[in-house]
Assembly symmetry: C2
Homo-oligomer: 152 residues x 2
């Protein structure tokens, strides 16, 4: 059996949380500078998965890995702040879609620009090939770790 | 300028949060199975950085990237649950050290075993060399991202 992690080497949980908090720090500081100063890192669990045409709350919960109750609270908060609204799903009248408003679309576009610049900085430092390998390995490990709950 | 991320490719924030929640899911489920059923994922910000001989609360805040007030609340909760206690720092009598109790040391040892097995699973799947490269790149990106707040 391989022996991971080495003593004193940060484990996957430590690395994930350090990167997540530092990523949120930059993203939400720069969003605030562009006038989106009322969204908080916790709203990322909804904002990161919004689609221009809308998405069901159950899919937001699935994709973000957060509980449905938490997603419901975040959607309520973002609706009050004017970033999104619930509309009837045209494919199923009993269901609702969570849709970005004009302000929500502007936030999505600003976040996309900020994140692209953030990732480009890492890619330029490490080299494009190495950064792409890192993203592929990161995606692979995250997907396999998510499968643990259902496989184990 | 490089164009990262590609459309529809998960960004660094999405990957970090997916991996963090899935890591916590496995760790805290398995801790509960071993009798540590009263600790919660939020306590990870303290538990992950405890040292057998103790650590100052200010260092816990620095290492975890969490605010000092949040660390204070988590330390209070873990003290009530019997995982740690505040003791005077022998090198500075005005300062306090956060030290694990017997139960805290047992939890640290159980968590280390669970995390080692979790990481070995990824290392065996990807191959040891590739997994080690991934951890090195992950550490590099996390450290550089944390520097953003002070450099920018």
């Amino acid at each position: 059996m391989a022996t991971h992690p080495e003593p004193d080497e940060p484990d996957l949980g430590v690395l994930s949380s350090l990167l997540l908090f530092a990523f949120q720090d930059e993203l939400f500081t720069k969003l605030a500078e562009r006038g989106f100063d009322d969204v908080r890192p916790r709203h990322g669990a909804v904002l990161a998965y919004l689609a221009p045409r809308g998405i069901r709350a159950t899919h937001l919960a699935l994709r973000s890995g957060q509980h449905k109750q938490i997603i419901g609270t975040l959607v309520d908060e973002l609706e009050t702040l004017g970033y999104l609204e619930r509309r009837p799903d045209p494919t199923d009248r009993r269901a609702k879609l969570v849709c970005p408003t004009e302000r929500g679309l502007a936030q999505m576009s600003a976040a996309r620009e900020i994140i692209t610049a953030l990732e480009s900085r890492h890619a330029e430092r490490l080299g494009d090939t190495k950064y792409r390998q890192f993203k592929q390995l990161f995606t692979d490990v995250a997907i396999h770790q998510r499968q643990w709950a259902t496989l184990d």
